[in-house]
Structure formats: C-alpha cells, structure tokens
C-alpha cells in the first residue's frame, strides 16, 4: 500500500520509525505541542531580526533586508558518518592547496597528462599574476566550504568545493546559539559537538599564516565590500567574534610597502587580510581598474611577501565547475590516495560525446554554468517545462564549453516543521574547513540548507531556501 519512497529521509525509515541518530530527538518531539513549536519559531525569527542576521537582496528596494528562514528541526549526523566526511574533506583541502601551488608553479599535473593544459590556460579563474607566487606555508585556500549531498544511508557526494570566499558560517554559529537558547533541554538529552570555537580557530589559522615581513603579534583584519553587500552581516560578525578590525577599501592604502589601515592614530600595517571581496575587485591597479572596493597596489605588496591574503587570489580555479570533474584525479595525484568522498558524475559539455549525451537526455539532467553560483543560470531538467528545455538547449548549443551536466541527484530529505507537523524537504550540507601551515581543522557541524518548497531540489537562499542547525553527535 505504501509507495516506495524515492528519497532517503534522514530522520524516518519508510515505516515511520526514527533512524538511530534521531531517536532521542524524535521521542522529544513526540511530547511537544506543534503550536508551541510554531510560537518558538516566530520568536526565533524576531531574535534574528533584532540581531540583524539579514541578507541584502540586490535590486529589491523596499524590503532590502531579508531573513533567511530558519527551521528548528535539526539535521543530525552520527559520529561515524562525521569521521568519514571529515577525513574526506581534510584530504580534499590538502589536495586543493597542493593543486593550486602546482598550477601556479611547475604544473606537474599537466605534464603528467592528468589534466588538459587548456583547462588552465583558457580558464578565466586562472590568474597569471599568481604565477610563481608562493604564499606562507603554501596555503592558498585557508577557508573552504565543501558542499555535500546525500542520497542514501552511506552515499555522500561532493557537489562543489567552495575554495574562494565561502559564506554561511555565521548561520552555522547563530543557528546553534538560537537552538541552545530555545531548547536547552534538548542539549542535555542529546550530546552534540560544539561549533562555537570557529572564530577562535579562524583567527588562529589566519595568524599562523603570517607573511615573512611580519614582526611581533600579527595584525589581522577582515575586508568587506561594505554594508550593502549581501553577506555584510557575516563579515561584521566574524570580525567582531575574532576581535579584529573590519575594513573597507577606503580605509586602506599602501604605506611604506605595507598595506595599512587608517586608524585614529595614523596608518597601521596589516599582516593578514581575510578578504571577502572577489579577486577582480581586489586591486584596481592589477584587475578591474574602476573597482572602489579594493586597495590599489595590494598585489605588489602581496608578491613582495608583506601581507597574507586569505584566501589567496586565484584560488577560484580550484572550485571551477569544469575543474571539479577532475577532482578525483587531482586528489589521487597529490595525495597518492583514492578520493574518500565521491564526485557527482559530471559531463563536460565541451567534449562532443558528452554534449551529444547531454542533449539527448536534457530532461533528466541538471545543467550548470561552469562559472555560475548561487543557483542562477542552471537547468533542473526534470522540473523544467518543454519551453524552458528548448530555450536551454539553444543556449547550450551556442556555447557548450560554458556548461557541465550532472544526473539529477535524489537528494536526501530531513523534515521541517509545518503547520501540519513534520514534512520532508531536501537538504544539502556545507561543513567548514580551516587550513593553515599547521594543518587542516574541520569544525564538527556546518550549514544545512533546506529547500522549503515541497519537492524542490534547489536549496540556495537566493532561491527561497532556508537553514537548519546541524548536529554532529559525540561518540
């Protein structure tokens, strides 16, 4: 009588019993009144508004600041699952840093025939200005957010390696604070690993990456495009939590070969700059000449070893969607091990055979722009109308090299709280890793994004997604 479920639900087996990691939570939930929980949910929203955890929507005038909806049912991961995930992420982050060093130096991976030369030479994310530059400890990407999806009990896939300026960590931290505040009793029942050490770990990782010219205790600062940026809240939050200055381009200038910030007592040199400004805006003298967000001359200072920029310029090539399809080779080439975490099978539309396959199976595939992000410009075949498929087909044929295609994954679901009680919705997971010359640290938790619309597979906040607290259980 019951229809076989198409998707793996992380909380309930098809027969309605709770999976082991959710057993205690499920018992607790059974004793709760849904109306009380809905009231709690409204309180949480009021708290987020007061705290100012909002994001700016470009082009939306009046309601310029929005909240990302928060769902109060946690996403729970067991200690065993986490062990595998964190080992896999650690391996990938190490491989990515080795890869970045290699492609900006000898390009051994190309010489070895494991990566076609044009993947680098013709890639817009490759920065020639970085050739021969070796950042402290050879760390290029200090902060990585690895997007994972799950399709079964033991089936995890990496969807994307966000190696340039991953965002969302403030939600990981604030969601946990909110849950602790609302349901303290839950945390005495269920042993959840903490995440609040993240800002300290971040500061430690940044301080450990000091440039050679730094003397004394390192001065760290966060560079933001300003209060109108969609992630400004996070920039301010991280600077505040780390106890460092939050600077904008107009606070900075190059003084005596160092990048310095204008303080009330004159210019003070910065040793490590955690920038949340994209490469192309970083230095108007090197990249976009009309950028007001960056610091003229910072690239010269960087190349002279007088400042550390985190993440390094040019790291974007490692999370490029075309490079992504080579990640299993990249991991193996630099670590000598098989990749622990699987890639989603990816068709590179630049290759004629792959393109033919994609065109034949468009209605079953997800097609993404190679340089796109935020869920914009992508096609979800099974959800698209005939008209949308035809329009996309034309775009794809006009510039196949701009696209990759992947099978539509049966993303796992976790319930959300609705007026009618629990209802399953699709989720993904972005844990955060910090790399420094001392090693890689992975915070046990992450950002769980959830598609609030029934049946939707798109979890991006810009496309109506919400977030959940993510619990990694203690052993």
């Amino acid at each position: 009588m019951t229809e076989a479920p198409k998707y793996f639900d992380e909380m309930f087996w098809p027969d309605g019993t709770a999976r082991v990691p959710y057993a205690e939570y499920s018992d607790w939930f059974g004793t709760e009144d849904v109306r009380r929980l809905k009231r709690k949910s409204a309180q949480a929203e009021a708290l987020f508004r007061l705290t100012g955890i909002t994001f700016n929507v470009y082009g939306a005038e009046e309601a310029g600041e929005r909240l990302i909806p928060f769902d109060l049912v946690p996403r729970i991961i067991t200690a065993q699952e986490w062990t595998i995930l964190s080992r896999g992420i650690d391996q990938r982050v190490r491989a990515i840093n080795s890869f970045l060093h290699d492609i900006y130096h000898r390009q051994e991976i190309v010489r070895a025939g494991r990566l076609p030369a044009e993947m680098i030479a013709q890639n817009a994310a490759f920065l020639p200005q970085m050739i021969g530059v070796a950042p402290p400890g050879n760390i290029y990407t200090h902060i990585v957010g690895t997007d994972l999806v799950r399709t079964g009990e033991n089936e995890f896939f990496v969807l994307e390696d966000n190696a340039r300026t991953p965002s969302g960590v403030s939600y990981m931290l604030e969601n946990r604070e909110t849950m602790l505040h609302m349901f303290p009793e839950l945390f005495s029942k269920v042993k959840v690993r903490g995440v609040s050490q993240y800002p300290r770990s971040l500061r430690r990782a940044l301080s450990a990456s000091v440039p050679p010219k730094c003397e004394g205790p390192p001065t760290v600062a966060v560079l933001t495009p300003g209060i109108y940026n969609s992630a400004y809240y996070e920039h301010a939050f991280l600077a505040d939590q780390m106890g460092v200055e939050l600077v904008e381009g107009h606070d900075l200038r190059v003084v005596d070969g160092r990048v310095a910030m204008r303080t009330t007592q004159g210019y003070k040199a910065i040793d490590v700059l955690y920038r949340r400004v994209d490469d192309e805006f970083l230095d108007p003298m090197t990249f976009s000449p009309d950028s007001m967000l960056g610091v003229p001359g910072i690239m010269d200072v960087y190349r002279a070893g007088a400042i550390t920029i985190a993440n390094a310029p040019g790291t974007g090539i490692a999370d490029d969607k075309a490079i992504y399809s080579y990640m299993p080779d990249i991991v193996e080439f630099y670590t000598g091990e098989q990749a622990i975490l699987k890639n989603v099978p990816t068709h590179r539309c630049s290759e004629p055979d792959a393109l033919a396959y994609v065109l034949d199976n468009l209605a079953d595939l997800v097609v993404k722009e190679v340089h796109g992000s935020g869920g914009y410009g992508m096609l979800v075949g099974p959800a698209a109308s005939k008209k949308e498929l035809a329009a996309f087909r034309a775009k794809l044929m006009a510039a196949p090299e701009n696209y990759i295609a992947q099978p539509t994954l049966a993303l796992s679901t976790v319930p959300i709280l609705t007026n009618a009680g629990l209802a399953p919705r699709h989720v993904d997971l972005r844990p955060f890793a910090l790399a420094s010359p001392g090693g890689v640290e992975i915070i046990p938790g992450g950002l769980t994004r959830v598609a609030l619309k029934k049946g939707s597979l798109v979890v991006n906040s810009s496309q109506g997604g919400g977030t959940k607290d993510t619990w990694v259980l203690e052993d």
């Binding site: 508004r49 007061l50 705290t51 100012g52 300003g226 209060i227 400004y232 301010a236 600077a239 505040d240 200055e245 939050l246 600077v247 904008e248 107009h250 606070d251 910030m261 204008r262 303080t263 009330t264 007592q265 004159g266």
Partner: protein
C-alpha cells in the same frame, strides 16, 4: 581603532540625540499651539527654523500647518532631517561600526529603528502623537543607557559620548539662537503673562522646566533662564555642561594616545569662556552674538576633531 569607526560612533550618537531633541521640540511647540492658537503658526515656523528645515519645508508645502509640520519633521522620507531619516542614518552608522559596539548597543539602535519604522509607516494622527514622541525619547535614552552600561571605557566610548554632547549643545544653542529675543529686556512686555509662556517654551524644548523650577524656587526670570541654559553645570543640557563633557572625553583621548592635538587647544578655549564669563557680561556683549559665535566655534571644533582623528582621509 579605525578613523572611520570613530566617525561612525560619533555620528551614530549625534543622530540619536538629534531625533530625541526634535521630539522634545515638537512636544513644546504642540503645547503652545494647543494652549494659544493665535501663536501656533509662528511657533511651528520657529520650530522649522531651529531645526534648519524651513526652506526644505517650503519646497514641499505652501503654508505652515501643524499637521504638515509634524509629519514633515517626523517621517517625510524626502526630508533628510526627519526623525525617521535620523534613525535610519544612526542605524546605518551602527551597522558600519558594528564591531565596535556591544550587542546591547547594536540591538538598542536596531530595535529603535524597527519600532519607529513601524510607528511612522503611516501619517501621524494627532491622537497618536504623544505616544510617538514618548517612544522616540525612550528609544534614544535606551541607546544611551546601553552604551553607558555595557561599553568598555576606551576611545570608542569617548567618540560616542562626544557625539551626544556635540549634538545636545548644538541643539540648545539653536533653540536660544531662534528665541533669544524673548529673553532680551523689553519695555513693552516685562513680566507679562506672554513672556512667561514663551520662556517656558524654551525650557520645555530643552526638557529643563522642572530642573529650573527646583533650582530657582519657581521664579521666572529671563536672565536666570539664559544663565541656566548656558552656564549652569548642574543642568545636563547646558552648553557649559556639554562642553565640560567634550573636554573630558578629549582629555581621555589625549591621555590614551599620549598626544595633545589642535582640537585640545580649541576645546580649552571654549570651556574657558564658559568658566570666566558671567551672564551679565553675555547680555552686555549681546546674547545673540554670543550664541552665534558659539555655534561657529562649535562647528570648527567638530571639523578639527574629524581631522585630528582621521574620520575621513
């Protein structure tokens, strides 16, 4: 701390103080217009002059009308000097300097913005006005209180406090600048009932009525009122009090940074004038001239602080 941050906290508190002062002045003008309808129009006009927005008002409206003035000063989005615009600016500054503030201070500013945005979303009706004016004053006091109760006493705090006292002194001086003639001795009106009402307006606009009465046994006298608002250091809104505070905060900065700058010399001069001048000497010199010069000096000092502490490049 960043120069930009110093400027941000300074202006955040200036805007908060300004919105509170506008609420006080509307309250005082409303009182007059309700009790003496013949004086209503001139009172609203004088309020627009004090806030420096008479010209902007006439760009939008052809005649002075209480309801229109109130809405113009409280919520007109085209009026950069309205209470709502001031609260928006205070919050924008608070967001910009978020890392320099405690969570309490930020939330006090943010909540002030959320509450007033809602209250001032529609044209203000007369019956709602008392509650709105009270809310504005309470919310501003809440920000000041959070600052006082939770912030570390360092340079950030000094710049914030200076913002409050700069704006407050400026406001009291403007009230006096527009109303000075009421306080001048005149053969026609000496001791008349009309004088008493006018004098009371000045005290009401600066929330000093009760303090004045307590300290002067209820006796209304123009010279005593002027002395009270300009020179009496017991009144937390007098020019002398505000400048005493500004001098203190600049002094802490000099100590902290180990450096005396041009602004320190300037503030000493201004304070010195308050300490060595009597109210009789001020009236002899000319009340209006004294106030005008004070406003100019005050503006110069503000610019000097901005430059000395690198608010902008």
């Amino acid at each position: 701390m960043l120069g930009k941050t110093a400027g941000g906290v300074f202006w955040m508190l200036r805007y908060m103080e300004r919105t509170e002062n506008t609420a006080r002045m509307i309250d005082a003008a409303l009182r007059i217009s309700l009790t003496r309808s013949s004086a209503a129009e001139s009172e609203w006009t004088s309020l627009l002059t004090t806030t420096g927005m008479l010209g902007a008002y006439y760009d939008r409206h052809s005649a002075v009308d209480g309801h229109k003035v109130i809405n113009f000063l409280l919520r007109d989005p085209t009026n950069a000097g309205s209470v709502m615009s001031g609260v928006e600016l205070a919050r924008t500054n608070a967001r910009m300097v978020r890392t320099a503030l405690t969570r309490e201070v930020w939330e006090a500013v943010n909540e002030c913005w959320m509450v007033l945005k809602d209250m001032l979303a529609r044209p203000v009706r007369e019956q709602d006005l008392p509650e709105i004016l009270q809310t504005i004053r309470q919310r501003s006091a809440f920000v000041r209180g959070s600052l006082h109760g939770t912030m570390v006493r360092n340079d950030i705090y000094d710049f914030a406090r200076m913002g409050t006292f700069f704006e407050r002194a400026d406001n009291v001086a403007r009230v006096l600048d527009v109303k000075y003639y009421i306080l001048l001795p005149s053969i026609m009106h000496v001791g008349s009932a009309s004088d008493n009402v006018q004098w009371e307006t000045i005290l009401r606009a600066t929330s000093s009525t009760r303090a004045y009465q307590t300290l002067h046994e209820g006796e209304f006298d123009s010279r005593k009122i002027a002395r009270f608002l300009i020179l009496d250091k017991r009144l937390p809104r007098s020019l002398a009090f505000c400048y005493g505070k500004i001098a203190d905060n600049l002094g802490y900065l000099a100590e902290d940074y180990g450096e005396r700058l041009e602004c320190h010399t300037m503030v000493d001069q201004i304070c010195n004038r308050f300490n060595t001048t009597s109210i009789d000497q001020i009236f002899e010199y000319g009340l209006h001239e004294f106030i005008t010069e004070f406003l100019i000096d005050s503006q110069r000092l503000g610019q000097q602080i901005e430059q000395d502490y690198r608010f902008i490049e």
